[in-house]
Symmetry: D2
């Protein structure tokens, strides 16, 4: 038995999401960071690695160099997988190279820059047989998993309506002009892709709705907006959604909703029950019925199902947060790698990590809402 | 000085909203119920009046009879105004008759059965010079008025986005088949009009959004649904909305959202601030800013503006509810009548009651969402 | 059938609680105000009555005059009961006089100025056979009644612990020096009695705890405080409590807890369940269990018991507030009077109004906490 | 630069708090676990270490062996500090041995088995000059630190009243009879000390109240209870508290409050402001004022002070929970060790970890409440 070894692409000094990935990977003591190509600037990459207490020789000047060098290391030394934490435009190329070199991949979302890349990557994952995980963090929360399990078991009856929201307010002003790094690349179509708001957070909402309900969105009618002058991509959007089973709904996301922090939330209504969950208070799941009192289900209790239990660490009332949800993805993914090392089938809990299939659906969603909005909110189908 | 005298049309034994109107009218001691035509069945009307301690001779067998008889009574005895609390299809005719007989009118919403009637009524109000009030109850809450005042004063900056919701769950099953009176007429196109959900509660959401923001909805793209088998009208609907000033938004209403009681709520986002209000906890108004802590404004405090203060009765922490909001409409309307009796101009607070103009806008909204949905959610303008 | 006729003692122009009593009495259309002695100043009393649209001859110059004059009026004209809404020192004398003249009495709380008066009044109620109601408003809420019913039915098991709180912040500064009327008399030992905070609101907390649990507080250890310089009575107090059944608890009340509005709340823990209720959001009752999700019980639902149902007026989600709770006391009390008029037994719902027995217990509580605090929080028994 | 090296005493397979310590230490990538004496059973200790991927030779059979062996290792290999995560009775001896061998110590709370041990340990810390940290986890939350900073800056004015609560429900039944390990030792006076409820969680409440206000509790009047038949220690307690500055308050803790998870919370009222914080929703801090709207301060915002900022990792709306609060203690403590390695003064943020002084105060509190309760809640001073 040993820790699973991770190499990181991106996430140098000053980056936001790379640090989150590292903390999430470290939390459960199953994964160790052994190498990285933290920046496209070799000096900055090495400086970043030093601050992470890495051996200097494994702080690489580029991800190409890292993949090549690690592939040559002995099996008991080299990294097991790469974590890709770069901006969107730089997801596909390193993922492709890693898969082709036989490394498993854990990638930040959205999977790629556009749908075509995502489909190509899906084919490559299939071809290589390597593992691919996608960090749709919010499906990592225990009570999201509990809701998914309850809906799958029919506790709410046939689903009729879904309301999923993701309002934020941090881009209500032209923050990108101040040089703020996170705002800068997300609002740049060359780095972010066809959409800012829908690509960055609308796709989380789409993923959450599909994960929780087990349903697929079949078509969308989208009214995307750019409220901040001079911005090149959408910073807000309102979408009517229809599911393949006949359910209807609303998805809206925003980065200009002043005062909203990171308010992803979902409400689901079936024929016999309803449910509500908020990311900001993630350990509470509200379940509603036709004719009896509403129930408050909470993380950590024995009455929860297997998936909720497998993805929490502490007794009820010890709040688990964003990093724990993120860590669930990493721990489950590490379990898949360990299963491979141990030549056994991974468990259902280990397999509970978003895959390239969710990546493809996310890119299809982004392209559909952009296309619909360009046609004045005409309905556009997701392939 | 004397109490203002009210005659009621509808609201007999077993009715829901008539009783609410009576309690609302009674609360502040400004209005007394003096007569009524409580049912289309004369015996039931008289029986109802008896239970309300009315003089038998003023419990009329029909509203036609009441209007005719009251008009002949001495000025110091006859009713000052009629309250119309019948189902939608029976709003226009008694309102018309009352106005033509010189009586002021307070009507339940929506104003009429269709838009054409509403426009005719608006013309009649203008012609007769009588007062007309419409009980869009939810604008009666102090914190709704506070928000309106703050937005008008520019506290949130130019408005960009509005999310207004009105989910209920009481029609999630085919309740109308059980003979439940409220469900029965609301789902009957001959009694309710072109829409059930949007007519009954969607129009409240529309009214709230316009009241609070001071903006007009200019066009809608609506996806209305009928989830319960055999139902003849919509029981749910999702609507993209655009305002005349360029603001965008979402309006959704539902009667099949299991577990939702009467969850009207609104969020408004401007360039520099945001706000959130929920009818279910109506004494709290949340105000958000770009860069400082969110504030909780509450009913009853000295820091509130004139309209909030004029419409609350108790110190902070003594919850005022639905009946108080309803009573605000009646008390303000009674103030208008009293101003007329006293031959003075009504105050701004007295004038703060929805008029036939809001009634016309509401009917235009209902017809627009129905038309849009019939065209697969194509955009339809409100006249 | 006719309305029940009320005469009021106190509650002139500018008074707070008198207006609340009038609105509460008016809400349900069962009671009419027919006369009053609104002030110890006859001119002010008459002026107050005029604003209430009363006949001038029934606006009396003193309560002595009112009781004498009304007693001489014909049975079909004279008041049925008096509502006493004066400061504490002026509760006993008019109540005594009214009872002796054969009038039923509804009194604001606390019942009297001291315990001796309360015991004398209890004897008088018994002797005269008149009805006596005490407006411990907060037991009028539907969900308080629901909790009482559930505890009585054993749903929480044997009660072990009670935490009841009543923090306010309005006396955090020396408001009485500004001439504010409510602050002035409450902090004056000659008008308020032995205690300010404990008498005014601590006694509500005591009453709520005993009403909900059906248990009696047997002894108290109290640490009362006066935080504002120059104030003559307590403005805060912390009390350990013990119940006769062996349950333990905490009661604290405060008028100097800055930012607290009127935050009466209670938590009760039994062997198999727990409960929590807050006056500020009174339509929600939380029920907790050993091993299943917490439940949210809400006003207006069919699943509630008879008492909750009998004391609410609107469907779920139409908030009922302080005035409705207050109105429940008046409507139930009016039912008792009507039962007497109809020579029938009052129903359980009609009898659900605090009596002079609760008044005696409240006064005993106030004297016990004052005595305990004077002995450095030594235990003092309630007789 | 290198990671700080931790050796662990206790925390073998099946232990609860040891795993929490490991995750907390791992989260920020500053500390690595290098050795351990995980159990008093050598085989179990080695098995535990194997599951943690440790080198077999550094999985020791006893803590005595570990301290002796590690002391002999080269400076660039041996552990820097020990983490003590055993039950209360086994805190003092290994802490003493470690300090005497020159190792820094991070200990679970309460510091020792009784007050005498705590005082001896304090003397030893002073004598050896080693670092000592105590994991009063709940002071690790960013918004607790924000409140402390605001109170210290006088934002609430002079403090008058503190209400601190810590209800749990997990010991409402005789869980210890089922063999549940956590219940077993906590209710055993030989392993837990003089108190169960007050020792385990009441001391957290005491520490939180003193940390946040900067005040010292000077005396207590305590009514401790044992509600579950056959239990040897208290499972509930209600305490009147007085602070050295004249402030008053209430502290209560419970393990039999059915339905309460881990509901530590505190309310503080000063002359000009108030505050409220709940561990279960730890990223929200409510601040109240005399005459303006209540404010909601939240983790992660730029408006927070230095200590809140130094102890959070993610942007607003990405909930940080219990493990992050715990990790703050470890990261700050690691900073102190690093400062020593780097021969520099530790920063204010690094020094923000509970010390043996808080440990002594906690033990004094426990002994005082036990003594007071034995005297029927007479006042007992804390030394």
């Amino acid at each position: 038995m040993r820790k699973i070894r991770m190499g990181m692409i991106g996430g140098g000094i000053g980056a936001f999401i790379g640090d989150v990935h590292r903390k999430a990977a470290a939390l459960d003591g199953q994964i160790e960071l052994v190498c990285g190509a933290f920046s496209s600037d070799p000096a900055k990459s090495k400086e970043s690695g030093k601050g992470l207490f890495l051996a200097p020789e494994r702080c690489y000047g580029s991800w190409q160099e890292m993949i090549a060098a690690e592939a040559k290391l002995p099996a008991d030394v080299r990294m097991d997988f790469v974590a890709i934490v770069t901006p969107n435009f730089m997801h596909f190329a390193p993922a492709k190279a890693a898969l082709e070199a036989g490394f498993d991949v854990m990638s930040d979302k959205p999977a790629t820059f556009d749908l075509a890349e995502a489909k190509e990557l899906a084919a490559l994952v299939k071809k290589t047989g390597c593992l691919y995980g996608l960090t749709h963090t919010y499906t990592g929360y225990p009570m999201v998993k509990q809701l998914r399990e309850m809906i799958a078991a029919g506790k709410l009856g046939k689903i009729r309506k879904v309301v999923v929201e993701y309002p934020q307010g941090w881009l209500a002003t032209s923050l990108e002009k101040s040089g703020q790094k996170q705002a800068d690349w997300r609002t740049n179509p060359k780095l972010a892709g066809a959409s800012c708001c829908m690509g960055d957070i609308g796709s989380h909402a789409e993923n959450l709705a599909e994960y929780v309900t087990g349903l697929h969105i079949s078509e969308v009618a989208a009214d995307l907006n750019t409220f901040v002058d001079g911005r090149l991509l959408d910073d807000d959007g309102n979408v009517l959604i229809r599911f393949a089973n006949g359910a209807k709904g609303i998805l809206h996301a925003s980065q200009i909703s002043v005062g909203e922090e990171n308010n992803l939330n979902i409400r689901v209504y079936g024929e016999t029950g309803g449910a509500e969950w908020h990311q900001i208070e993630p350990n509470t799941l509200q379940i509603q019925y036709l004719d009896k009192p509403t129930e408050i289900w909470r993380t950590g209790h024995g009455y929860n199902g297997d998936f909720a239990k497998a993805n929490s660490r502490t007794p009820p009332g010890h709040p688990e947060g964003y990093l724990e949800a993120f860590a669930n993805l990493y721990r489950n993914f590490a379990g898949q790698i360990r299963a491979k090392l141990e030549k056994r089938e991974p468990s259902a809990a280990e397999l509970d990590v978003p895959t390239i299939e969710e990546g493809v659906r996310g890119m299809a969603f982004i392209e559909a809402v952009v296309a619909s909005s360009a046609k004045n909110a005409a309905w556009v189908k997701l392939d």
